[in-house]
Amino acid sequence: MEPPAEVVHWMFGVGFVFLGLCLLAEAIVGAEVWRRRRWRAYLWPGIAFLMGIFMWPVMVFYTSSAIHMLAHSAWAQVMMLVGAAQLGLVRGKLHNQLWELTLPLALVVSGLAFLIHEQNPWFFSRSAFLHHALGWTLLAGSVVCLGRAAQPRSPVFNAGFAVMIVAVAALLFCDRNVAPIFGHLSPLAGAR
């Protein structure tokens, strides 16, 4: 009944690429220009929040192992948390800038979830490689986001964050169930 795992990864890749392009556009033109239309300020936090909600069906329907389920639950929660905190800040409902730290926190949790739930080494299969790459990309991204929280107007940190999100999207698009690179197929190959 469920779509193949690769299709789910691509769907989230679409979300991340849109998210990354919004952030990249904001980093290029600057926050003042980007936020001249007020709704644009809500765009990326709204997408992150929505993606968090859409992660819950993945969590409950893909239960081949407990650790898989818990990892998806962690991603769902941190995406909702980041989206909610950013929306609260944009809307003026939250005033403490410490809420910005939810972003690096979310990236650390997400990265660790990728690395912990992937039990195979880097070159075991394509999916193992992607999981490791995603995990380390997110962990590296958390450092960039810490810098962004300290210097919100820095074009380097803003662009770095945007590029990291686009890289995550690219890695998600690279997922294939039937792709015999590094010698092994994913266990999900051929699954419906």
Partner: protein, 439 residues
Amino acid sequence: MRANALAAAVLVALALPTSALAHAVLLERVPTYGARLATTPRTVSLQFDQTVDAFASSIDVRSSTGKVVTAGPAHATDSGRRVVVPLRRLPKGAYTVRWHVTSNEGHVVAGVYTFGVRVKPPPPTEAYGAGGPTKFEYVAKWGYFLGLALLVGGLAFRLLVLRGRTVTPALERRFYWVVGVGVVGSIELGILGFILRAADAFQLPLDQLVYGDLSPLARGTRFGTAFIAMTLGFSIVAALLFLAWLTERTILLWPAFFLGLLLCSGLSLSGHSAVDVGSSWKSEVADYVHLVAACFWVGGLVMLAFVVWPTAPGLRREAFHRFSQVAAVLVGALVVAGAYLAYDRLPRVADLWQVRYGQVLLIKSSLVLLALSWGALHHFVVAPALERGRGVGSRAVSRSLRGESAVAIAILLVVAVLVDANPPAKSAPRPTQAVVAHK
């Protein structure tokens, strides 16, 4: 040159363990999970995506009475990707398969499932050897009920008791904290409860359960279906609550409230009232009414004691009066539904003190009686005094409300134990005269 050699060595080192460090995934079970077979299977076989280490005891098959029905040791075939165990001739009945193999990387991969020969097998949660809930599971379930009460009761209080009243920002802020804790608690403790139930069915410690295949539990049981529906539902409730807070639109609380009410039915449709022998739509409805009334009551008390009283002195008298009226109706529904369920589940009065379920029910009833007496004091003494303008600023009233809330929360702990206790078995309904005559 040296750098190239080093890079090549690193690549080789990373590539070499690929065949030795792998996490096995179960691809196929024969007989499959939940199968109702017409004839005795000769073997149980499990197909993995890669080579696994199998042991003589890798597949354990037992009857519903715990009798081992394997006819020899388990062994690997298909280059170590399939593990097979021969079976004796199986009489009619339900059978539990527990398996464990070692992946190449050394992790134990395990699972449990059931099948039946000429009978419908039980869900994995009732597989032979499942030890029943632990104390930790009781505490998790207690937290789950409390989360549900804070969410549904908090929303009911805000929408019904405080309807049409201007609330202070401080009250609104604390209200969102309470229902927020409720919905997050319901999601988190729901997941924890699911994992703990799986640990019980698998009979594995938590560190080994992480690689367990949970799909038979998630797909093949009412409990699993309720878990899926409630997790998805509560995530939507969380989103609605957040949007209501963000946009300051109380109207968004209504769909969150109705969805929360609907989700409460998941417990009634997957618990004793739905699956035990003799259960009917009446027992399911009674269970649902009992649960919803309890959530309104406990959540409302917490809102009154911890939200309205400290943050909105101007609303104290009116909120107390209104909640007191609503509570009278809730208590009525609670008692009637509870009495029906007790009558339905306990065939004999002596079961109240002779079986564990009855004993827990007695403890719960005693606590409910204490809470009701406390509530009656509030209804008949405190409410009229507040109406006369006395005691609005009294610390004694505040403490008394907190005391009643504490008793109500303690009742939820007993409920957590009660819902996992098995009511005494009922005899199956006798066949009608027509059926007997036909036979």
